[in-house]
């Protein structure tokens, strides 16, 4: 649909004058041309500002600068804007914004557009409220002029602008063109939260209809005229390269069009996916493994255990731990092992690239616009703005599509380059490519020690971590790696909330491990919450204290942690006995953790059978994520986080042997199935604070809560993930 963009100088001033709010974007030439055609265009979407278009049909289109990968972002952003606009929710729809860091940057990330770190709502809160309120003010001004009445007398409700005195009424669509000509207000009045009509209520998801009738568009669903599908033969080890290949048998397969070498391997291009796969199966490649990484995960872990014997770089230091431990009456210690984890989104990685005469167009579940745009441009010798990115729904990501190295996007671009852009290409990773493609949650080894003084008080804590850095070598290194400490390696450990007078956290970052690593839903907290919260229960056991009581004692300066902890404990009837069937052991366990400025406590109830197998029966969650924009989506995200985290705890593990990844599909890397999904209760702490994230924070406390429940049932603390239930045989 064509769009009218109207030049408006005051709007540009607003753009320049308001920090964090990129309202209004106009190219004078385009605007002039559009203005000349105004009268001729009847069914148009008028761009009120960068985030809002209003259609002549009364549709309200909210532009989402963030990727919808399941976390409810499209609905959340639209809820914020539509509330301030006083739109009719039924008329609101959401479109993915194009790549344009000037208009659509993540305001927490500076001049960079992308989705991650559970920041979508938090960084957009003020921006979307102001965009909605400005749109509302412009509609009101337009109506006031048209009706010759005072703006203060005009009321807006559910998409209708009305004036009681004169009895006049107009829909948004009727006013849109006039509204766009109004000056953008330099100041907007935001609603008093008590007047919210959508925020905090039950605004339904905007993507439910399309995702239940098969029409939702994912990258996998893109078809372009003349498009070829590429399936790539990747090296069997990270760092190996193509020595030579024989494509004669592959080319004999019906449907195979071309076979080309790219830096990432050998790509088979065909008219359809099945032919491309058959072509790849028939391909013979010999690999040069001289620079390949050849260790197994057991060897990596052994190496880390050795490194953990020596002090690392200091990430946090308070008091005097050396002296404290030297004088301790009792020392508790433990070590923890965490495997590599694959994101294993249901939609394997894929990307469509089309090189055109004047630029390049990309279709992707796009999570890192600025980074990907720059890299694709470099492949083709284009300027970044010549690369148009279409952000489609992502069939899950969990961090995978925010690739620090744009890995699969670059692969697609290189294939197009190798065929000189003669056809648009859809790169399809089959499940095995996705599972073996690296960019895993890094393998980590932790050691912990706690010192108790003569009176049994917890006075010292020493936490040492060994694992690869995610950010070193990425575009974010300069900002997020300080003095050799990658912030995301130690998050959740270096900011331990407990009041312990002497605390030391140190880190070893091996640099000779050739396995690509990446953020995996909740990043560092995916392992630090486990080691800190399970170890704290071990300390509580040594002190003879109740785990909830000990935590509350130590959280006196962290009321939000304490708040969710108390709420979860109360709702779970903490302290009351659990009934167990004959031959079964049952226990309750707790964990509390802050990640991405949100606070989550969970109480898990677990049954352990004689054979050691476990069943998580129920998880009671309490969350404090500031203002609850969409309470039902918060519940949904936390329910899902429980399942996602439980999947990893029960069976998540990528292993390597001789540098080769041993898993390839869901037989080797099983995901949680419905029968293992516990009952989940989610309680939201009422809050009027600015919203924080909820996509990730439900993940970290789950595994430690379950482990602590297992310990309550069996006396055995599991310190290696995934759980080895043979340790629990009665």
């Amino acid at each position: 649909m064509s769009e009218i963009i109207i030049e408006n100088l005051s709007r540009r001033r607003f753009l320049q004058g308001s920090a964090g709010l990129t309202l209004g974007f106009c190219l004078p030439a385009v605007a002039a041309a559009a203005a000349g055609k105004l009268g001729a265009v009847a069914t148009v979407n008028t761009e009120i500002n960068a985030f809002l278009k209003i259609g002549a049909d009364n549709s309200v289109t909210v532009m989402s600068k963030h990727l919808e990968m399941g976390q409810g972002t499209y609905t959340g952003l639209a809820t914020i804007l539509a509330d301030e606009l006083d739109a009719d929710w039924a008329h609101v729809r959401v479109e993915g914004a194009p790549a344009d860091a000037k208009r659509y940057n993540n305001t927490f990330w500076g001049p960079s557009q992308g989705t991650g770190g559970s920041t979508a709502m938090a960084n957009s809160w003020d921006q979307m409220r102001k965009a909605g309120a400005a749109g509302r003010a412009m509609l009101v001004s337009a109506a006031a002029k048209r009706w010759n009445v005072g703006a203060a007398e005009i009321v807006v409700r559910d998409g209708v602008v009305s004036h009681a005195g004169s009895g006049r009424k107009a829909s948004f669509g009727e006013l849109a063109l006039d509204a766009a000509r109004e000056a953008v207000p330099t100041e907007v009045k935001l609603k008093d939260p008590k007047d919210f009509r959508l925020i905090g209520k039950q605004a339904k998801r905007k993507d439910s209809a399309a995702k239940t009738n098969g029409t939702a568009q994912f990258t996998q669903d893109v078809f372009l005229p003349g498009m070829l599908v590429a399936v790539v033969a990747h090296p069997p080890q990270f760092g190996a390269t193509v020595k030579s290949f024989d494509a004669s048998k592959a080319k004999a397969i019906k449907g195979v069009v071309d076979v080309v070498q790219i830096p990432q391997g050998v790509a088979v291009l065909a008219t359809d996916t099945w032919s491309a796969k058959k072509g790849r199966d028939a391909l013979s490649v010999s690999w040069d493994d001289s620079k390949a990484f050849k260790l197994g995960s057991d060897e990596i872990l052994a190496k880390y255990k050795e490194m953990a014997k020596k002090p690392g770089l200091i990430a946090a230091n308070k008091g005097d731990t050396a002296k404290t431990f030297a004088g301790a009456a009792k020392v508790v210690s433990a070590s923890f092992d965490f495997p590599y984890l694959a994101h294993a989104a249901m939609e394997p990685m894929n990307c469509v690239v089309h090189l055109k005469a004047d630029g390049c167009e990309v279709w992707n579940g796009e999570q890192f616009q600025t980074v990907d745009q720059g890299r694709v441009a470099a492949v083709f010798g284009l300027k970044p703005e010549q690369v148009r990115l279409n952000m489609l729904y992502a069939g899950g990501s969990f961090g995978r599509r925010a690739s620090t190295h744009s890995d699969y996007v670059m692969e697609a671009a290189h294939i197009v380059k190798a065929i000189n852009g003669k056809a648009p290409v859809k790169l399809v990773w089959l499940r095995e490519d996705d599972m073996r493609g690296g960019y895993y949650r890094p393998l980590f080894h932790h050691t912990l020690e706690a010192a108790l003084d003569g009176s049994g008080k917890l006075v010292g804590w020493h936490h040492r971590l060994v694992g690869q850095s995610i950010l070193t070598g990425s575009p974010f290194e300069a900002v997020m790696v300080k003095d050799g400490i990658d912030h995301v390696s130690v998050e959740g450990a270096s900011n331990l909330p407990y009041a312990i007078p002497n605390l030391l956290v140190d880190l070893h970052t091996p640099t000779d491990i050739g396995v690509p690593v990446l953020w995996w839903r909740s990043v560092g907290s995916s392992h630090t919450a486990y080691s800190t919260e399970v170890f704290l229960d071990q300390v509580a056991a040594a002190m003879g204290k109740d785990p909830v009581a000990l935590r509350l004692e130590l959280l006196s300066e962290h009321p939000k942690h304490a708040g969710v902890l108390k709420l979860a404990a109360e709702k779970a009837n903490w302290g009351t006995p659990l009934k167990a069937a004959p031959g079964e052991r049952r226990g309750r366990g707790v964990a509390v953790h802050e990640s991405f400025n949100s606070f989550v406590a969970q109480v898990a109830e677990v049954t352990v059978k004689k054979d050691g197998s476990i069943k998580v029966d129920r998880v009671v969650c309490a969350v404090d994520c500031g203002t609850a924009i969409n309470p039902d989506n918060i519940r949904s995200q936390v329910e899902g986080a429980v399942g996602f985290a439980l999947s990893a705890a029960l069976s998540g593990e990528i292993t390597l042997k001789g540098g080769r990844v041993e898993q390839g599909n869901f037989d080797g890397y099983p995901l949680l199935r419905i029968g293992d999904m516990p009952k989940v209760e989610v309680h939201i702490v009422p809050s009027s604070a600015a919203p924080t994230g909820i996509g990730e924070p439900g993940v970290p406390p789950l595994a430690p809560a379950v482990a602590n429940a297992i310990a309550a049932a069996t006396g055995k603390f599991l310190t290696k993930l995934p759980f080895n239930t043979t340790e629990l045989v009665a």
Partner: protein, 152 residues
């Protein structure tokens, strides 16, 4: 040429007989509601109905379904059970990323077509082949109960 009947319509497809139904649907007919997830009948994202029974299209060669009634997510609302299930999914906002949901819905419709009052155990059993990485399972269960109520 392979002749298939999909959602009540006859199609002639120029594909090899060993081509999985999944890729015939997606790449040849561009009926993209049915999803690729694993290629080995491990995840259920490609679930369609063949003569009313849920099957994994990724491991079903087109040659095996000639002359049989194939139904996909695109036509799931053409019968009452499908429409009710779809409505329950929307009412409870089951979806997150949505990629597996076509398969989830096809399996749920097959269950409710056979069993109008499934227990949690019946649901877990019938839905055990459908993975959801977002773990929407709490709501999948609830939506099936909701649909069963509406069908009663």
């Amino acid at each position: 040429m392979i002749k298939l009947t999909i959602n009540g319509k006859a199609h002639q497809l120029d594909v090899a007989p060993d081509t999985p139904l999944l890729w015939a649907l997606r790449d040849t007919l561009q009926m993209t509601g049915t999803k690729y997830g694993c290629g080995q009948a491990l995840c259920g994202a490609c679930t369609v109905h063949v003569d009313g029974t849920p099957v994994r299209a990724c491991t079903t060669p087109v040659s095996a379904v000639v002359g049989r009634k194939i139904r996909t997510i695109e036509a799931v609302d053409s019968e009452r059970v499908g429409k009710v299930v779809q409505e329950a999914w929307r009412k409870l906002d089951v979806v997150q990323c949505g990629y597996c949901q076509s398969g989830q819905i096809m399996s749920a419709v097959a269950l409710l077509s056979q069993n109008r009052k499934p227990t949690d155990a019946d649901i877990d059993n019938a839905m055990s082949g459908n993975l959801c990485r977002c773990a929407t399972y709490v709501r999948v269960r609830a939506a099936i109960h909701e649909a069963a109520k509406a069908l009663a």
